[in-house]
Amino acid sequence: MAIEQGTLQPTGELTATKGRRIYRQITGRKYLVMVCLAATLCGTLILDISLGPARLGLWEVASTILMPGSAEVTTRVIVWDIRMPIALMAVVVGAALSIAGAEMQTILSNPLASPFTLGISAAAGFGAALALVMGLSIIPFAGIFLVSANAFVFAMIASMTIFVLSGLRGVTIETMVLLGIALVFLFSSLLALLQYIASEQALQQVVFWTLGSLVKATWPKIGIAVVVLMVTIPLFVKHVWALTALRLGDDKAHSLGINVRKLRLQVLISVSVLAAAAVAFVGTIGFVGLVGPHVARMLVGEDQRFFLPMSAMTGAILLSAASIVSKMITPGAIFPIGIITSLVGVPFFLSLILAKRRQLW
């Protein structure tokens, strides 16, 4: 400020103290909420690993995780090769979908935006079905990743379509959401067409894939998903303030020196990769990408320094909790998680909306 230092010093110091106090009041609560949610996530993760048809005690599971060498072979296989991939995949995919949804909602300034509503999930479903029904591979020699690779490619095709069309004159952020919804219908009907001509066995696989499932989780798949997260998150972190400012409206963001168009496109690309990777491995899990960010927003607001990690945590918790429920419904079997997330998530989300103390969006 160009106000003279001499006259301002005493009151200036006072103002700074007051500012710090208000700022601490605002951020302190957010840190507290984040710590609570982190603890909750740890809880759901451990519970998820300890649940399963083989009745292992909590202590047995814990010791197998901490000291795999000293555990029995069967226990080690159950915990390390079966349960942990599924449980960790739930966390990683939940976080990825939720972050993707959060940033889509931010850049499109629309509470309905999510990987599901923008057609990315539907496109992935079609890509997977193409592999399952026709055996068609988009990427040659995809091997065991055939279905996932196809799903990923089509998810990227969907988001690139939105990306390319968004560059056309007259396409606003509102029309981008409409385009996404049009893509949902397009790929849904293409998927239905494939299902119509599919053999009974292939049809079963397609249906299973589109329901969303974690059971095919493996360590390499988790590795890939984590790498995608690690690659995309730095971009969001670099632009935390710019992304927060985007919610003040384009004109204001622009006048704060943000290249709104460039930022929007950069984020759209990263978010697409993130969502595509998540969906490619676990199938269509629609609800998390939409609701995770909303829950995070209710808890900590839209300062992206908090909103971003919070969205990751809410998404991870939602999917981890859904994974727990999916094991409890029918003993010995794992219910498709896509069904659970919506069945459990919708009442939870409705209760949040109805109990809200302030506007959601």
Binding site: M1, R247, G257, E302, Q359
Partner: protein, 288 residues
Amino acid sequence: MKLSIERLILPATPRPARWHGPTFSVENVRFSYGSTPVLKGITIEGIAPGKITATIGPNAAGKTTFFKCIAGLLKPEGMIRLDGTDIRDYSREEITQRVSYLPQESPVNAVLTVFEAVLLARKHTLSWRVSDEDLRSVTQVLEDLDIEDLSIRFLNELSGGQKQMVSIAQSLVRDPDVLLMDEPTSSLDLQRQLEVLDLIAHVTSERGIVTLISLHDLNLAARYAAQFVVMDHGAVYASGDADAVLTPQMLRDVYGVNATVVTNPDSILQITPIGSIRSKKSRVAAVP
């Protein structure tokens, strides 16, 4: 305007500027949206720093477009010179630091507290960790505008007028050399209008900055602005001080309104509109 001057939070009388202030001029600025020309050659020579310059004119005269050109949001033809250098020759960071543009009211529903929203306006100085200087500036502005009590309220809980106060705070907290405000008082009550304009006048003279405000309320403009730019159909109809610009002739030509203009006891012009001119259509048609 019956409010006594004692009610005002800060003295409106200009103080001598401590520095010479930025020089600012506009030469033949033209801009079109597609094939529709909106600015048809705007030239304003030297806007004096330290005083409020009011940009007035009817709806769709091009005021907002003109502001967006200055703020670098639109790329016009012609020259907009800040300290002798064309605006386009500055980097984005420099423009952001030097020019602060307050857009006309835009619906903001972000889940941010008022304090966070104003802090965000200092984006050019913010890093992950927020500095004491940033916190001090934000608190100072909230105090100056008397909206401290809103600090931890959420934007989407505020009234229209309160939101506008937050926008004004966002503009001022950036400490710019050129302050552009598009209808900053449109949602404010009478007392707030006077207080806000007083503060802007004070900041303008204290910091010696160039301040351009677009206003629909001509009496408010007459009270606070030392210079006027009258825009009509994308061109400058007239510019200068109140006596030269705020004339019944101008009101007829530009606004299509018959009005009387008298000087108040405190030597401020007072405009009283009487009625619309019916023949406005023919005048519009005559403009090329």
